[in-house]
């Protein structure tokens, strides 16, 4: 453990901008949600009415979880912001831990450090210390922010600890993932897939009122801390114990491998390239196909689960006579199912936007690793090289949305006896979302061309669009603000005529962003980190 403190200082120096931004955004989000709810629903009666609507809308519960106490501002804030803040804290922890462990080993910097007076476990210990501390600061800021608005202090603390606790658990998940693979990208993909699975399990459990399913996910625990609704403090201990167990498991894994190696030994490859590996597109496909396959599998699973669930929701709600009346007013069971499926498709579209950003930013990854230099020193133009990875970004996001839509449609269709019709309908609805995901590729490409050192802003844009989608209605934001997000322009309802205008607009904007990005890249110097 020798040298851990020095490494912590090094990590804080490297993350001096990124980490505070994460912390402030996550804590700010919770605080803003609370004040918006207090302002928009000042009377307990209004809040209870909102709670009833939520109870009748499985799509909402899938996104944000159950309401435990609709009467209080705190209870509604916990319903609205817990999942969002916890998922973001988990994401932050994954990125911080991977960046300071496996990425360091991959670049060989850990070797340099390892040769100094630095203990064997100092690198992972420092990464964990930074992530755990960042989550503790988030807990503290949320507690202060909510209590400062006059909400009960105990609930505020429970809320903060639920968010920070989720962050701790995923600190452990990321550390364990970093031991398994030799690649930082694979390690963070593995940890993010775990986060995705946790979200999925919780969403299904909450929408279908299957408590056991919801309890299988740390994001479900965060809800079930029941902040402002009879706090269950032992759940916080569950977070801590799980996080410790994961860190211990990672330490055991680490002891069984060498620096830089994974647990799985590398296999030899071909001595010659296949004839097909002959151009930039073939190279981009070769580099990205594994990741794309992972995304497609994830979308197939998510689509199937949501599709299989959709039909049960109507029954579930209709069992409750109070809900049934409300349901009839909202347009009947079909409308409920369609609303649920549409909501799930928009969540998938946001995630697919993440794929589009990641696939586009592969350009930057290749550039800063100096591999772009080798390719661009051959007879390949910068435009052709850019287009090769963009083809993967655009084609890949269309592909995974199709997979998600098709599997949701098939699963839903099989339950109601019309698989082909539902599959076609859901495929169409999923494809309508594609132009919005492409806009994110356009934003990432423009940043790559103009501000290669700030390409992380593309992720910030994605988070901002996700927050607009999640919070825009609650905060009753102006249309002008909502329209900043490409996802606001996607026709949101199944079974209504589609207005092609906004979609064409999105395509035009995307084309302009991509073209500007390519031109800017053609004019600039190649830059390392």
């Amino acid at each position: 453990m020798n040298g851990t403190l020095t490494l912590v200082r090094l990590a804080l120096r490297r993350d001096r901008v990124l980490l505070p931004v994460w912390i402030v955004v996550i804590a700010g989000l919770v605080t803003v949600s609370a004040s918006a709810i207090a302002e928009l629903y000042p009377h307990a009666g209004q809040r209870i009415a909102l709670g009833v609507t939520i109870g009748a809308t499985p799509a909402l519960q899938a996104l944000t979880g159950p309401v435990f106490d609709a009467a209080s501002v705190g209870g509604l804030t916990a319903w609205r912001a817990t999942t969002m803040a916890s998922a973001l804290a988990a994401l932050m922890s994954i990125l911080v831990v991977t960046r300071h462990t496996r990425a360091e080993e991959e670049t060989g910097r850990a070797e340099l450090l390892g040769s100094c007076v630095v203990g064997r476990q100092a690198v992972p210990a420092a990464a964990v210390a930074v992530a755990v501390t960042a989550n503790a600061v988030i807990t503290l800021l949320i507690t202060v922010g909510l209590a400062g608005q006059g909400l009960p202090a105990a609930g505020a603390l429970a809320f903060g600890a639920a968010v920070g606790g989720t962050g701790w658990v995923f600190t452990g998940v990321a550390l364990a993932a970093a031991q398994l693979t030799t690649h930082a990208r694979t390690a963070s993909a593995l940890a993010c897939a775990t986060l995705g699975l946790a979200f999925l399990l919780r969403a299904l459990g909450d929408a279908a009122k299957a408590e056991a399913l919801a309890w299988s996910s740390p994001l479900g625990w965060a809800q079930r801390v029941r902040a402002f609704a009879g706090e269950r403090w032992w759940v916080i201990a569950l977070f801590a114990v799980t996080a410790l167990a994961l860190v211990a498991a990672a330490a055991l894994l680490a002891r069984r491998r060498d620096l830089g190696a994974g647990l799985l030994p590398p296999r030899p490859g071909r001595p010659d390239a296949r004839a097909s590996l002959a151009g930039p597109v073939a190279l981009a496909w070769r580099l990205q196909r594994g990741g794309l396959l992972g995304w497609a599998v994830g979308f197939a699973i998510a689509g199937t689960l949501f599709g299989a669930l959709a039909h049960s929701l109507g029954d579930l709600v209709a069992d409750n006579p109070h809900m049934a009346a409300l349901l009839a007013r909202m347009g009947g069971t079909d409308a409920l199912t369609d609303a649920f499926l549409t909501a799930e498709l928009s969540v998938l579209a946001l995630v697919a936007g993440g794929y589009a950003v990641q696939a586009t930013l592969r350009l930057r990854g290749e550039e800063s690793a100096l591999r772009a230099e080798s390719v661009l020193a051959t007879a390949v133009t910068r435009r052709r090289w850019s287009l090769s990875h963009l083809a993967l970004a655009l084609g890949g996001s269309a592909l995974i949305m199709s997979v998600g839509g098709l599997s949701a449609g098939l699963a839903h269709g099989l339950r109601i006896g019309r698989p082909a019709g539902q599959a076609a309908r859901m495929l169409g609805a999923a494809l309508l979302q594609v132009p919005a995901t492409w806009t994110l590729a356009g934003i990432a490409m423009l940043l790559f061309g103009l501000l290669p050192r700030l390409t992380a802003l593309a992720w910030a844009a994605l988070v901002a669009f996700a927050l607009l989608a999640q919070l825009g209605e609650l905060l009753q934001l102006d249309d002008a603000v909502m329209n900043l997000s490409p996802f606001s322009h996607v026709p949101q309802t199944l079974g209504r005529p589609v207005d092609a205008g906004p979609l064409l607009g999105l395509l035009l904007v995307t084309a302009a962003l991509l073209a500007a990005g390519i031109v800017a890249f053609q004019r600039r110097d190649l830059q390392q980190e």
Binding site: T182, H183, P266, R267, P268, G269, R270, P271, D272, A273, L277, A278, G279, P280, L283, R286, L287, G290, A369, L370, R371, E373, S374, V375, L376, A377, T378, A379, V380, T381, R523, R524, D525, L526
Partner: protein, 297 residues
């Protein structure tokens, strides 16, 4: 075209923010020669090569590569050259053999027989994945990919910095063959023995400027010769002679360094003093180097 130089750079400047990476650099590489490109770390060698490749854009100065413009005509020029970077980074999931084939195809063609022969000579296992290679083996991958391509010009950035002495010897043999095949080579290097063995012409740069350029013989002429002699009597005029440096006298034995243009006068003085024994050593490239490198401080 045959008579125009492969590389012609005059007054090249490149700034990164406030850092002047290149500050009026000149470099001429004639077609068919092996040109040594020397300079201390951070002198601007890699920056120069990156500008020649159109990866960086020059701020000012004239740059001509194979008769074309490195930035404007990049793709046409890249069909006729191959580059070995100083830091070879491979794709972790591609094998070395795949990377060689891929880079060759992206350049427009690869001589398969030559690839096989080079793999054999450099003793490289092409089936290993990129992440499994050592620095030296990564360099071999890039070298084989470059040498097996049918190109006119090789741009090599410290290509032997990770190779073991045996492989350095192989590298020298291969480059000597390339020269007889008429290829032009621009070789940035820190290995003086390598430059002495391979290069027809040498350019030394420092702080982004050219400080010496010419043939090795020509450069030596400008430098000092070290003389040590045993004499019948020590001429007292010796320490007053122009161009004498680091004179030491012990009994009848003298040793000193002498500037090239005063060599003849000094030798005449020594013969007049009765030479019993004489050794005369030309400046090594190392001395040449140190003279320029140390002047940085």
């Amino acid at each position: 075209m045959a008579n125009s130089p492969a590389v012609l750079i005059t007054g090249l400047t490149k700034h990164f923010g406030k850092v002047h990476a290149l500050d009026g650099l000149d470099l001429t590489v004639r077609t068919g020669e092996v040109h040594g490109f020397l300079g201390p770390n951070g002198a601007g060698k890699t920056t120069t090569l990156r500008i020649l490749l159109g990866l960086l854009r020059a701020d000012a100065g004239h740059t001509e590569l194979l008769g074309g413009h490195p930035w404007r005509d990049a793709v046409e020029l890249h069909r006729r050259l191959a580059y070995v970077p100083g830091d070879v980074v491979l794709w972790p999931t591609l094998s070395g053999g795949e990377a060689i084939d891929l880079l060759g195809r992206l350049r427009g063609g690869l001589d398969r027989q030559r690839k096989a022969a080079l793999l054999d000579r450099f003793g490289l296992d092409p089936a290993k994945k990129g992440r499994a290679y050592s620095k030296g083996n990564r360099q071999k991958v890039a070298l084989i990919a470059a040498l097996a391509s049918e190109v006119d010009l090789l741009l090599l950035d410290e290509p032997t910095s990770g190779l073991d002495p045996l492989m350095e010897a192989t590298f020298r043999e291969v480059i000597a063959e390339e020269r007889t095949r008429g290829r032009t080579v621009l070789l940035s290097s820190h290995s003086l023995a390598e430059v002495e063995a391979l290069c027809d012409q040498v350019t030394i740069i420092r702080d982004g400027r050219t400080v010496e350029t010419g043939t090795l013989a020509g450069l030596r002429h400008l430098t000092r010769t070290t003389i040590s002699a045993d004499l019948d009597h020590v001429p007292h005029l010796l320490n007053e002679l122009a161009g004498v440096h680091a004179l030491t006298v012990s009994g009848s034995h003298v040793s000193f360094q002498i500037d090239g243009e005063h060599l003849q006068t000094a030798l005449r003085l020594l013969t007049d003093a009765g030479v019993r024994q004489l050794t005369c050593r030309p400046a090594t490239l190392e001395e040449l180097f140190l003279r320029h490198y140390q002047a940085v401080a």
